[in-house]
Amino acid sequence: MTETKEGAGRAVMRVEYAVDWDALYREHGPALLRYLRRLTKSPDNAEELLQDVFTRAIRARRTPGPAPEIRSWLYRIATNAAIDHLRRERRWRSLPFIGGGSDSSLPSDDVELVRRSLRTIAPEQATALVLRLHEGFAPHEIASMLGIGEAAVKSRLVRGRRAFIDAYTRMGGRL
């Protein structure tokens, strides 16, 4: 990875970074995969999104910083990918020849019902809830990760909780 920086003395500095993407993939892949799985319909969707996350990361040609920053950056990409995916899925679901029916054949255990409920609420709220409760990020961490204010995160969490409770009970879950 190459990045060009302009130094204080106006000298142009060319910095070469060797990024071990395989190592990053091995380190962060499992957690990101579980995060994406929570938000997607099938393990294949999650795996596909995970590949997409790393493809986007590599193409961004951005210099990863220290470890916590990389983690946060990858989660940011994963969140954007998940939001895109959820929006796309929602559009497809509205088409008459797709969707419908298939959900009813899914196992109805708690985790599956949670996933299905999350997919019905606003993608921004769903990702905020999963980042907060499943991944354990604090609101201020989510805010800096997504580039929004902390108040906006809290608002998403409040609305998300309400929407999730409605969705979960509407789908037959007991709270």
Binding site: W21, D22, Y25, R26, G29, P30, L33, R34, R37, R38, K41, S42, P43, D44, N45, A46, E47, E48, L50, Q51, D52, F54, T55, R56, I58, R59, W92, F97, I98, G99, G101, S102, D109, D110, V111, L113, V114, L129, V130, R132, L133, H134, G136, P139, K154, L157, V158, R161, R162, F164, I165, Y168, G173, L175
Partner: protein, 432 residues
Amino acid sequence: MTAHVDEIILAHRDELRDEATQLYVGEHMRECADCRDLERKVERADHLLRLPEAAVALPPRTAPAPSLEPWVTAPRVAVAGLAVLVAVGIGTGLRQVASTDDPGPPPPAAVAQPGGAASPGAADLAGTLAGVAIGMDGAEVRAILGEPDRTSPFGVQWTYDRGLILHFAAGPLADPVGLTSIFASPASGARTGEGFAVDGTEQEFRAIYPVAVTTATNAPVTTHYVAVTRNGRTTLSLRATFGPSGRAVSVLLIDDDRVPTIPLPVVRIIPTATGQPLVIGPYQPFPDWREALETDLRSAQDELTFVPLVADYMPIEVRADVRPRDSCGLATRCVQYILAVSSPQAFSVTVLQGPAGCCLDAARPNARRDIEIRPGVLAQFIPNQPHFGGPILWWTEETAPGSNVYVAVSGPLLDREELVKIARSMRPLGAP
């Protein structure tokens, strides 16, 4: 202005309440049954949202080619590309097929039959891809392709980073037998036995396999499919998926006949935590679970600051899945293994280990530990309900000089006696 109690209940898990707000909420809650109900629901919803996702194996990373769109680089798409589709059978007109997420085989609307005649010009499938043939054993594959870059815990999946994934039917870990499927991406430079290059065009594929069924998924992915049937059943099949450039992004050759059908027993095991006998089945036993567990723990050992314990007893033969994790606090790394039957997900045991002080032992330093696991090692039993993960048995133990380990064993369907049996079967990794 004070927010409505509903808002405070929904938000309070993310921010601290000041004393005045607490008082206000407390007073309000005493009077308001709906608010109490909401608080209970929020508590339960948070618990549900925290339920962990089952650990899944990390798929091999695919390197993006600069000239391709991101989705093209994900070979899973190629397989999943069969998801929701309309199949056009050659000479059979347009037909609608099932909508499913399972990338299983598309309907054999038109197939090539060896020596037979599904349609004129039917192509036989040689059953080879990337120079290896369906049915080969591990040694034969190794002789052609070399050592795989990665193998799955049970040795049935071999991955070559240059873009090949192979599955075997079964067999010993070092040398599995019966290659059942070969998946190739363009990076592999592979060709089918009939000469189709994995990065070839749709026209080239059509020229070699004129009877192939065309299936279309979410545009712009297209899959072409050709198969051999025996006794009216699809067996060997070849699926090529093409991207918007019209070139193949993956090819999968699979022989369903060789995918093993193991007679699955139904087992009745120990009384569960609920006191009811548990029947599991049909389920696939994993007789090699001890070996797999020990091997995986050894490979995780480098990441740990302690010597973990290996279990030697399980009520039934289970699959082992070992995962180091870094969620045990700052600068500490734990290891968790889940021993489970894969389908149905009816039975599982989770064993979490970390450096002493990482977990429950820090939260409950004065807990009464009254179950002797080994001489001088006392454990505490926590009778959690099955829907909260089941009972937990935890203790701390010196597994090697200077290696003080926290251990927690839990399982939704296990009772105290079974947890103790598992705990007593555990020994430090490397110890006889």
